[in-house]
């Protein structure tokens, strides 16, 4: 399945994943680990180990702000 992954404040890309893939799998082609971002579906954070049930996600970077 094809999912639109929009990184907030950065670029948007299409990611192809297998049926039953998790939200963490959507991050694989991105330079961020699950510890550095949250995946939002309709503005709501989702657990990264949950199966993808949408065609569009937003990725929120949680960078350092010292």
């Amino acid at each position: 399945m094809r999912v639109t992954v929009a990184v907030a404040g950065e670029d948007t890309r299409e990611v192809e994943v297998e049926e039953g893939a998790t939200y963490a799998d959507l991050l694989d082609p991105l330079p961020y680990s699950t510890h550095e971002v949250s995946v939002l579906v309709d503005g709501r954070p989702v657990p990264e180990d949950a199966p993808v049930e949408t065609e569009e996600v937003e990725v929120l970077r949680l960078v350092k702000g010292g």
Partner: protein, 339 residues
């Protein structure tokens, strides 16, 4: 996926505990962890009373960590007359970065009705970090200058504001990185200092406020009073960085989430990459690194404890406490002056 506590829709998964949590239960666990740390570290002494409260100065940068810490401490102690919170922010002179995060600080402290003080490097030292980075007389990373100036300002103003303790928003990732850095650099003396300055619990007291016996287990050593520094406290240090950010997001807190344009702590970045890689393969690594490190640091503090005479004197130039003739801050300011 459902929340393991109530069955509502989960917003996060903590691989280290295996738990899925909904918005409400997740936020509650963050608050619980901070409060437990406040309790376990004996941060509120018996001597604190409504007539003679403790003053806690919180270093508030406007980033997610210090904003979440300020919010949770406020919610916890709002009705408790034994503790008074004061927020202290620093303007380093970083164009386009600090102005925005100070706006976040203003918004938060106004919302919470907390006293808020802002100090600038420009007024304190006559320097701006943007210029310091340009001049760079010592050939160092920006953070190296900034850290020295920040410690000086936090320390002096905490004292001036009558702080009994100085709180900072270090999270689990920050502390686990520092732990590994000290370990990889083989700096056992630094581990002992780390323990004595901010990790070790304050001594426990009985119900009359008298000190109780020191724990028999040397890894549970309590902190010794340091007369040259305001004691530090980091009650957010059990919460992973991502969860701090998620809390800020879910609570809709006015946190400023942009990286400092001068940030370049290369070694720390490497350690962070390493740690997160381990965490992915072995969930719970950060927690176990910290649990073990705290014990090691306690043993180091005990071992060095007897050989720790107070060699602190006053800086010849500014009078700040220092182990040298001229403190590091004055050194750096002199070097900048000479450019």
């Amino acid at each position: 996926m459902d929340c393991d506590k109530c069955g509502d829709e989960a917003v996060m998964h903590a691989a280290y505990s295996g738990l899925h949590l909904c918005d409400e239960h997740f936020r509650r666990t963050v608050e619980t962890r901070v409060r437990r740390r406040v309790r376990e570290d004996n941060l509120v002494p018996r001597s604190a009373t409504p007539d003679d409260p403790e003053t806690w100065v919180v270093g508030l940068s406007g980033g997610k960590d210090s904003v979440v810490l300020t919010q949770v401490l406020h919610d916890t102690f709002e009705e408790d007359p034994r503790v008074e919170l004061v927020a202290l922010s620093i303007h380093e002179g970083i164009e386009g970065y600090r102005d925005e995060s100070l706006a976040a600080c203003e918004e938060l402290t106004t919302d919470l009705d907390i006293r808020h003080e802002v100090v600038s490097y420009a007024e304190e030292f006559g320097v701006q970090m943007d210029d310091v980075v340009e001049d760079d007389p010592e050939g160092m990373a920006a953070c190296a200058y900034c850290g020295v100036f920040r410690r000086d300002v936090l320390e002096r103003y905490a004292e001036e504001l009558g702080a009994d303790k100085l709180f900072t928003g270090h999270n689990l990732d920050d502390e686990a990185q520092t732990a590994l850095m000290n370990l990889f650099e083989g700096d056992v003396q630094q581990m002992a200092s780390h323990y004595g300055a901010s990790l070790g619990p304050f001594p426990a007291e009985d119900r009359d406020g008298n000190p109780v016996d020191e724990p028999v287990d040397p890894t549970e050593r309590t902190r010794r009073p340091q007369d040259h520094h305001v004691p530090r406290a980091k009650p957010l240090r059990d919460v992973p960085e991502k969860e701090v950010a998620l809390y800020a997001h879910l609570e809709d807190l006015p946190a400023h989430i942009t990286e400092c344009p001068h940030a370049e702590e290369a070694y720390r970045g490497e350690i962070q990459g390493l740690l997160l890689g381990m965490e992915d393969k072995h969930p719970g690594t950060r927690h176990s690194v910290m649990a073990g490190y705290e014990k090691l640091a306690a043993l180091a503090a005990s071992a060095f404890g007897a050989a720790e005479p107070d060699e602190y004197g006053e800086c010849d130039e500014c009078g700040a406490p220092t182990g040298r003739a001229v403190c590091r801050k004055c050194d750096l300011l002199d070097a900048l002056e000479a450019v």
